[in-house]
């Protein structure tokens, strides 16, 4: 009958509107970025950094494996020979020229996997916008300088919680079933 179907339809519509109304009273989960810091996992793939040893020597030996492995082909490595007076790294070779084109990089982390010495690592800096295209080709100097990203790096094994809502509580439960859940990590 038309009337029963209409009433059932109206009931469904009102249930839909009830769901949205419930969410109206939940505090927003937005992280207000510049004022609040984003929580990142420790293995987040941000901007690359070339690592040094404790004694100041660079770990990079200029082998070019990262450049060979890079799927986007955005790394350029030129090796140079270490002399006793000018020594940059342990062993015979060092990277005389090391450039990464960040406008082509896809931040996959393959270079980090390929590196035999653990020299190139992807860290947590993601605010990389710049005003000139040419400035996006990072040279060795810039890559050697560690960045200070405006983030909170979680410890290994910790599940992220939004800084704003310290937890994701159920809004209410009926018959033991939680009726409000988020897609992000809640227990």
């Amino acid at each position: 009958m038309v009337i029963t179907e209409a009433v059932k339809g109206l009931h469904q519509l009102l249930k839909a509107m009830g769901v949205t109304l419930r969410y109206f009273f939940v505090k927003p989960i937005t992280v207000q970025y510049p004022e609040e810091r984003v929580r990142l996992y420790p293995r987040f793939r941000g901007r690359h950094e070339l690592q040094r040893r404790e004694d100041g020597l660079e770990l990079c030996v200029g082998c070019g494996l990262c450049a060979a492995y890079c799927p986007a082909g955005c790394i350029y490595v030129e090796a140079g020979e270490n002399t006793e007076e000018e020594r940059y790294s342990e062993g015979e070779r060092y990277a005389k020229v090391y450039e990464i084109n960040l406008s082509r990089c896809i931040f996959c982390g393959y270079c980090e996997e390929a590196c035999p010495t653990g020299a190139i690592k992807l860290r947590h800096e993601f605010a990389l916008a710049d005003y000139q295209r040419d400035d996006l080709v990072y040279t060795k100097e810039r890559l050697l300088t560690p960045a200070t990203p405006h983030v909170i790096v979680l410890e290994e094994g910790v599940i992220a919680r939004n800084e704003v809502t310290k937890q994701s509580p159920p809004l209410f439960t009926i018959k033991g079933r939680r009726l409000l859940r988020f897609a992000r990590n809640d227990k």
Binding site: M17, T20, Y23, F24, K27, P28, T30, Q32, F182
Partner: protein, 334 residues
């Protein structure tokens, strides 16, 4: 006739209402963005000014500086007039809506409506009919097949939903016995008409969604995103003008629903101070706008053929049945 009372005072009231509605439109867009955002567990705009209150200003400035492109094959006159026509009809409806009782100012008793037309409800239906012209002219003058088809579909939707709207209003009129909106508000001093005519309220509300082109009946509007629609060839400031028309339609529809069904300016403490009735009117209208936004955030879009089927095969007969039942009950109780 008294020159001041018949010309100057209504003129001043009109200016106040038009300016109020235009500012109200701007902040309705703010309200919609913030409220839609809260339904989606996010903040709305909060960067332009505190709580994003200057966001409408930013949008207006942006739209004014955009490049105006008028297609060379477009009918210039109609092309320019169409958005203006949409807005004008949306604004016109406010002429008969009573915002409050009356206030004493400068030794005169000034009633808080622009005109107490004794065929107020009929005037509203007429203005709603004129609103379709803006859409059709916009689509036609763009000289574009897709715009025209979008305009025709929109116009068909608007015209079809005027029928159940009128029938729902007749059921209300059977109870009140007077077409003037001022008398209808006064009739609701005991009980708001939503209690006595719930079915008519629902039918009228659904028709308002369709007339304003709001979700779930906004296929004409999203066709702009998907393929084309009556506003495709409009750029620069004219495109926002069409959406200004839609929002002002929404505000006007909310105001009329409060006047006809929620008791207009009636409310507790209405007698204490002359500014309390307008406050109630404003509060109820804002609540209805919230309902518009709430429905928009919750419900999916209706496909065009289902939309038309729903109107002709369900709403119109339902409105007729409601009318018949109301007529019988009124006759029995008289």
């Amino acid at each position: 006739m008294d020159f001041i009372a018949s010309i100057v005072i209504p003129f001043i009231k009109s200016v106040i209402i038009v300016v109020g509605l235009l500012v109200g439109f701007a902040y309705t867009t703010w309200f919609e963005r913030k409220v839609c955002a809260r339904f989606q567990i996010r903040y709305g705009p909060n960067r332009a000014g505190p709580f994003g209150l200057l966001q409408p200003v930013a949008d207006a400035v942006k739209a004014i500086f955009k490049e105006e492109i008028i297609p060379s094959t477009a009918d210039k006159v109609l092309y320019v007039i169409a958005p203006g026509l949409s807005i004008a009809t949306a604004l016109l409806a406010f002429a008969v809506v009573p915002v409050g009782r009356s206030i004493h100012l400068l030794g005169r008793e000034i009633p808080l409506y622009i005109a107490d037309v004794n065929v107020g409800v009929l005037y509203l239906m007429a203005v709603a009919g004129l609103a379709t012209y803006g859409v059709v002219l916009g689509g036609w003058s763009s000289n574009n097949k897709y715009s025209l088809m979008g305009a025709l579909r929109t116009a068909a939707q608007m015209i079809s939903y005027e029928l159940p709207m009128g029938l729902a209003l007749i059921s209300v009129l059977l109870l009140v016995g007077n077409l003037s909106l001022v008398r209808i508000v006064e009739y609701q001093s005991a009980l708001p008409l939503i209690v006595l005519q719930p079915v008519a309220f629902i039918i009228y509300l659904i028709c308002c969604f369709a007339e304003a082109g709001r979700t779930p009946f906004d296929l004409p509007e999203t066709e702009n995103e998907l393929v084309a629609g009556y506003a495709t060839e409009y750029g620069g400031i004219k495109f926002p003008l069409f959406f200004m028309a839609e929002y002002i339609h929404m505000i006007t529809a909310s105001a009329i629903v409060t006047t006809l069904f929620l008791g207009g300016w009636q409310g507790p403490f209405a007698d204490l101070h002359p500014l309390i009735p307008p406050f109630w009117f404003f509060a109820k209208t804002v609540f209805m706008i919230f309902v518009f936004v709430w429905v928009r955030s919750s419900l999916p879009r209706v496909r065009y053929d289902k939309l038309m089927k729903f109107c002709w095969k369900f709403l119109a007969p339902l409105a007729l049945v409601n009318l018949a039942v109301t007529a019988v009950v009124v006759a029995m109780l008289a």
